[in-house]
Amino acid sequence: GDAPAAKKKPLRFGVADPLTGPAAIFGKDQMQAVRWAVEDINAKGGVNGHPLEAIILDHQAKPEVGIAVVNRFVHVEKVPVYITAFSNVVKAVAPIANREKVLMLSVGANAPAIARLGDYVYTTFPLADVDMNALGKYAYQKMGKRRAAVLHVNHETGRDGAKVFSESFKRAGGKIVVYESYEQERSDFTGLVLKVKAANPDIIHIHSVIRDFTAVVAQMRQLGVKTQITSYQTAFNPKMIQQLGKGAEGIIVTALAPSVEDNKNLPAYIERWKKAYKRMPIGLPYTQYFYDAPYIVAALYKWVLDKKLPITGENMRKALVAIKTFEQPLTNTVTINDDHTVKKPVYFWQVKGGKFTLIGSQKD
């Protein structure tokens, strides 16, 4: 029960995510998932009777804020492990983790460079090379596309994702006919859209934040570009369908988290959202990973407590390396490879009749 859990000293860990700013739309739901996970763990007695406690701070998806927040985790809150997301922040705060020997778990940032940020930086989330590699191959082989246009927003995730997709598509045998980037916050994409139209591709991959994604697609559809569009996990968002209406039909997005078919806990989880907020979570797959992240932390704490080691970042890291494979409630098996990467199956969803529908997956 929870009674003993409340008495013992809480086991704390930090979570930094954007709760304000343009990225907050994802961060808010992700933090809700973390809170639920902590509640659930504590309801089951916590870790060896200790309650788990998440210290949630807002980094606004800005590196300089991220540095301040992580400094606070490390020096003021003195946590041995913290979780964060968003590639630019992850990169900015990684040196702190290494220097201060505090374990850092990246959840949701997917720049391939994250695997090489240092000894104390791990990801529990597959990086872009996983889903975009799969999508490139899928587009060529399963969908029979040959000529792709690639557009991406000029930030870390956009650049990396677009690059991995186009390389994979080319490797499979396809041709990239347009490859363009644009700055965030742009509102008019006429030139870009027409350039794509002129190049006449048979598939368009847009690697972009959700607002730009809907604006680009809306303008494409209005200018008569009816080509198949693909994107990645951020577009897995019901708001996108609402804003695009009919224009959203047929869009394919990837997901790195298991679907209802593959995970028995997921339907209940989705129900929980519907009950609490009358909607699906925004960026469902991300929230699955975030829900699961405290479970990893709990496992690490348990390993350290069982070995009666002092609670330090070094020992948390030792625990991670020792445990390696985690059975997770919403994302099934997660194995942390020695090279700091994670491999997971990729799921493909398509908008059909105004709803996301699973159309396939790739597991290897």
């Binding site: 343009p22 363009e180 980037s181 509102s187 008019d188 200018l223 609402q242 695009l244």
Partner: protein, 315 residues
């Protein structure tokens, strides 16, 4: 791959997309000219305007006209309050231009935060859907949004033109813009002129925000980070004080950006604009102003008179 159809489409859609930039640039330029303020607080006003419209459309589901009226009222209120309780105070104190600079920027930041506090930070559109009906004319897609944007902008510009050049009040604005102390001596209230110009700007801003919000979603921070810079650049390119030319500059700039994608990678498009400003300012410091007509001004050289004058005395 480049067809006339695509060029035509680019011109048309690019033109329509430039309309709200035009409105914002003219509003900015007008306030700069008359109130003599680099009104970076315009971004704040834009945010308030937008979210007033948003509340009217999305939360209260008002019809078009009442919703716009409501948005306009809020915009006017914020603008006039700024003029009365901030600009006027700084002016009376002879504050340095820097102080006003900072105040306007900080006010905009304040507005953004306030709105984020109230409405969250998600991007929002005025209508649930971004799609508008599209008609095809000779291969060129003309969306109803384009038509609306162009008509609204053209009408507003025409009205403004008539107001400035055909009415007495327009003349007052011009006078205050040039020398406000002297204008007072001729019975023109500078405070009223400031109020009028900022109100006109408010109308333009409301229209612009409506157009923007029906085409793309807006983060509270977009006006400050993106829309305003554009207006400032257009104002400068046109030469300070050329209100209408600022609008034209905004359209031109926007079209240049749209077309430049045909020749350069889109990631360098923004750079093109920055280089353009830098170069224009250095080589045409007064903007792309045409040399002023001096042809009407002729006077005979004094030489003609001197012919008749005997050389009075030696040195």
């Amino acid at each position: 791959m480049l067809t006339w159809g695509i060029l035509g489409q680019l011109l048309w859609t690019g033109f329509a997309a430039a309309t709200y930039y035009c409105l914002f640039a003219v509003a900015f330029s007008l306030v700069l000219k008359v109130n003599k303020i680099w009104n970076f607080a315009q971004a704040g006003v834009m945010v308030f305007s937008y979210f007033a419209l948003l509340v009217a459309f999305r939360h209260w589901s008002l019809a078009l006209v009442p919703a716009i009226v409501f948005g306009l009222l809020i915009t006017l209120g914020v603008s006039l309050a700024l003029e009365r309780y901030a600009f006027m105070v700084f002016r009376d104190r002879n504050s340095s231009i820097l102080t006003l600079f900072i105040f306007t920027i900080v006010f905009s930041e304040f507005s953004v935060y306030l709105i984020e506090l109230a409405f969250g930070t998600e991007p929002q559109t005025l209508y649930p859907s971004l799609l508008w009906p599209v008609d095809l004319y000779g291969g060129i897609a003309i969306s109803h949004w384009d038509l609306m944007a162009i008509v609204v902008t053209a009408v507003l510009m025409l009205l403004l033109y008539l107001f400035v050049y055909r009415t007495r009040y327009g003349q007052y604005l011009i006078a205050v813009a040039d020398n406000e102390n002297l204008a007072e001596i001729y019975g023109i209230s500078r405070k009223r002129a400031y109020g009028v110009s900022i109100s006109i700007a408010a109308v333009l801003i409301t229209a612009g925000m409506y157009l923007f919000g029906t085409k793309a979603a807006l983060f509270p921070s977009t006006p400050l980070q993106h829309l305003l810079i554009f207006a400032v650049i257009a104002t400068i390119l046109a030469g300070i004080g050329n209100v209408f030319r600022a609008g034209i500059a905004a359209v031109a700039l926007s079209l240049i950006q749209a077309f430049s994608i045909l020749v350069i990678a889109s990631k360098w498009q923004a750079l093109l604009a920055y280089i353009l400003i830098f170069v224009v300012i250095i080589f045409f410091p007064r903007g792309f102003a045409l040399p002023r007509k001096l042809s009407g001004l002729v006077r005979p050289s004094g030489r003609s008179a001197s012919v008749a004058v005997a050389d009075t005395a030696g040195d």
